[in-house]
């Protein structure tokens, strides 16, 4: 009987839900069993209480805003620069020959290693973090946009130039729409990266933001508060991703989204 329910349309939603409920139940069991200290497994009710405290106070929003401001700042700058660079590389063999080895050569190098130097150059505040987020997001933005701009259907380009479209007009009316699905794929890769780097840099060196709050609550052994923050950060990441997908489906209405990577 149960296997029949799981086969139905709702079953598709039901199964992951069952996994989540089992995981939460296991957590609560671990918390109440007394085998571990409540610091290691705080009961769900306490985490929920801390979560409520965080959401109900204006300070929680201020700290979330600090993190989001950094993530968005670097992300937006990287989105603009990456799309421009990627389009240039995709439409000009010269620029591609110049920049492609630069990007693919330094792709696997963790840009995070530059953070200490960025701190000296841009200071301890938000700017060094935004600069690092920009750099980390620039790679997926540029590479994926480049990939898309390079693969524009040639027939479309030929017909555009046949009909007397200028270079700029072709770029805006043919190449850009054709690359748009790739640009959104790039944005979708870069947005979590922006949030991750914002959190990491705040964990390494900061006096505010969600990443700082996580390390602070850990060092004061308030693990219930730390887990509430983990929930907040996870929900933020999820909500941003959903918002981006919704925006994509409005703008790129002619193509269904089914892949997560290009």
């Amino acid at each position: 009987m149960s296997s029949q329910i799981l086969r139905t349309k709702y079953g598709i939603l039901l199964r992951p839900l069952v996994v989540i409920v089992i995981a939460l139940a296991a957590w609560e069991f671990a918390a109440r069993s007394g085998l571990w200290s409540p610091i290691l497994f705080p009961p769900l009710a306490k985490i929920g209480h801390e979560l409520w405290l965080f959401v109900s106070r204006p300070e929680g929003f201020a700290q979330s805003w600090t993190t989001l401001y950094r993530a968005f700042g670097g992300f937006a700058a990287a989105a603009v620069a990456g799309v421009l660079l990627g389009m240039l590389m995709g439409r000009s063999a010269f620029v591609a020959a110049l920049l492609d080895p630069l990007f693919s050569g330094t792709y696997a190098v963790p840009k995070l290693a530059l953070f200490p130097i960025f701190i000296f150059v841009f200071g301890l505040g938000s700017l060094s973090k935004i600069a690092l987020i920009f750099l980390e997001c620039l790679y997926p933005m540029t590479i994926i946009t480049y990939h898309g701009a390079r693969n524009v259907n040639r027939v479309l380009l030929w017909s555009a130039s046949n009909m007397g479209a200028s270079r700029l007009r072709t770029l805006l009316r043919v190449v850009l729409p054709a690359t748009l699905p790739y640009i959104f794929a790039a944005l979708r890769v870069a947005l979590p990266v922006a949030l991750i780097v914002a959190i990491i840099t705040e964990m390494i060196s900061s006096v505010d933001g969600l990443g700082y709050l996580v390390t602070y609550s850990l060092s004061s052994l308030k693990t219930d508060r730390m887990l509430a923050l983990v929930v907040v950060i996870s929900l933020l990441g999820l909500a941003l991703d959903r918002a981006l997908v919704a925006l994509r489906n409005r703008l790129v209405y002619w193509e269904k989204l089914d892949t997560y990577y290009v």
Binding site: L13, G105, V109, A113, V121, L191, T215, S234, G237
Partner: protein, 251 residues
């Protein structure tokens, strides 16, 4: 442009940039920006010491096990989800739901459960590597053309044989793409965990150098991690070419 000519142009650009940097720093530079020749000098000097190798080895001993555990689990489960509907429906929604969640926030939790030593670091690296490996293996297996599976079955191939001879070779390019993302991620997360909390490793070295204003050491650590990351990526691309001789040219 010919291959040789474009290679020459690239090398020329790189040398010109370095020379410009060197020349600009002649007219005085802040302490924290070293000219390239100085960096090279410090790096060669550091290559003669034991400490650099100890730190590099400590870093690799965290990144590589994490990478191997995470990608192996990701590839196996991803292939399972790509070929078995039951696995797909149970696992994929969870993976795609938690994909945009920054995995690094789990580090403090892992430090509580598994101690502040290497275990928590390896596990968080594995967790970060799991996602790209899973997603790419999943789509690679899912994209197997049905006709190939049908013809294989028609010719009397068993389920295991179809998986080994049809699904797996078809999914390999995607799997390698996932491994490449995962390798870069493993280095980033390794560096992050070491900067947040460690007693050894390249991330620890750069933090120490920063705190004691040893800018030479900062650049040595930076250059080492850059070389390691680049070498790992090259190695992966090289093995890709060996395993997938029929797929040339795609990066």
């Amino acid at each position: 442009m010919g291959v040789a000519a474009s290679r020459l142009a690239r090398a020329g650009l790189l040398i010109a940039l370095l020379a410009l940097w060197q020349l600009l720093s002649r007219g005085g530079h802040p302490d924290y920006i070293l000219p390239p020749l100085d960096i090279a000098r410090h790096f060669i000097a550091a290559l003669g010491t034991r400490e650099l190798y100890v730190d590099a080895a400590a870093s690799l001993m965290r990144a590589l096990p994490g990478f191997i555990i995470g990608t192996l689990a990701g590839i196996l489960l991803g292939l399972g989800a790509g070929t078995r509907r039951g696995v797909d429906e149970t696992l994929s929604p969870l993976v795609f739901l938690t994909y945009p969640v920054p995995k690094i926030v789990m580090l403090p939790l892992f430090m509580l459960w598994f101690g502040i030593g290497d275990v928590s670091k390896v596990l968080i690296i594995a967790l970060a590597c799991f996602y790209p490996a899973y997603i790419n293996a999943y789509y690679g297996a899912k994209a197997t053309p049905r006709i190939l599976v049908w013809s294989a079955r028609n010719m009397g191939a068993s389920g295991a044989e179809i998986f080994r001879r049809v699904v797996l070779p078809g999914a390999l390019p995607q799997i390698f793409a996932g491994m490449r993302v995962a390798l870069a991620l493993s280095f980033i997360v390794m560096f992050a965990t070491e900067m947040i909390n460690a007693r050894s490793g390249l991330g620890h070295l750069i933090r120490e150098a920063e705190n004691s204003l040893r800018f030479d050491l900062m650049y040595v650590s930076l250059l080492t991690i850059a070389i390691l990351g680049y070498a790992g990526d090259r190695l992966l691309r090289f093995s890709r070419r060996r395993f997938l001789p029929w797929e040339e040219g795609h990066a």
